[in-house]
């Protein structure tokens, strides 16, 4: 990946020199995406579908905020990768518990605690 044009090797990268118009466009995009989430909440889709749609929209909102409000896009590309890969790995690792949650929901053998049994 190539660094943004204003990144210097030894200087703090994000210079906050973007135009006010750019910031306002991004602000309006985030507001619009937040509005879409409220629309999804009342759509006729089942809960799983609503969750998936809202999650994708939240990811888009967060991406805009990370890249432009927090200026990650203007930092060195190595730093951008570091933040995304490191955070993504930690968050992905947390999803391990879903298998157990689904087992409990479906009541498969040994998914519930055996009350009163001695092991």
């Amino acid at each position: 990946m190539v660094d943004a044009p204003d990144v210097l090797q030894t200087e703090p990268a994000a210079q906050y020199t973007d135009s006010l118009g750019k910031y306002i466009v991004i602000y309006l995009c985030i507001l619009a995406l937040a509005g879409v989430q409220f629309v999804f909440a009342y759509s006729g889709v089942h809960a799983g579908g609503r969750f998936a749609r809202m999650f994708l929209v939240a990811l888009a909102e967060a991406g805009l905020a990370l890249l432009f409000f927090m200026h990650l896009w203007a930092e060195k590309r190595g730093f951008l990768l570091f933040v995304l890969v490191f955070t993504g790995f930690v968050l992905a690792a947390m999803q391990y518990g879903w298998t157990d949650s689904n087992r409990m929901e479906r009541g498969v053998p040994n998914s519930q605690p055996q009350i009163g049994t001695v092991r």
Binding site: T10, D18, I24, Y27, A41, A65, F69, V83, F86
Partner: protein, 208 residues
Amino acid sequence: MSQADMAMHHPGGVMTEPAFAVPARKMAIWLFIIADAATFAACLVAYGFLRNGSPSWPAPFKFSPTVINAMVMTFILITSSLTMLLGVRAGKAGDRAAAFRFTVITAVAGIVFALLHLREWMGMIHEGVTLFHNPWGTGLFGASFFSITGLHLTHVVGGVVALLVVGGRYKAGRMDADHLEVVGLYWHFVDLVWMFVVPFVYLLNVSR
């Protein structure tokens, strides 16, 4: 410059280039943000785990007042992110007065957000929702709702205090624009977390 030269100029030890050319202070807040993102993610995943595994999970949030309140709070928080950004931008450009003004506006928005949040909490408590009980179904609903929104509210209150302290010291000339940038990154993160709290905690539980 050789390492020997660097050691001579910095007798405390050999200085190396900052990682990714990011200054230490900014790197520290980014590492904090990554760690805090893991904290919030753990809470949201645990909430999803409970919700998924509880057959009587309630959907109590009515359009008025709860969803409207969430809309207003979302608007305020996203707008405060913009004012924070404008404050840091002004600070980087050397305009201390404008930077301080935008920082105070951001802090005021944070206070309004917190007050709206507390008003909503009071309404729910009045309806009988507590940490361990609610009138609609599993008691875990109240525990997860107050835990997640409470953790976020704590961050907002902490952010308001940080904004006022750093803004005041920046205005007095005891801090520079880099300090403002660091507190700004924290504030944007608080906004970013709210983008996930609203759909998962509020909008998936609206009454139809």
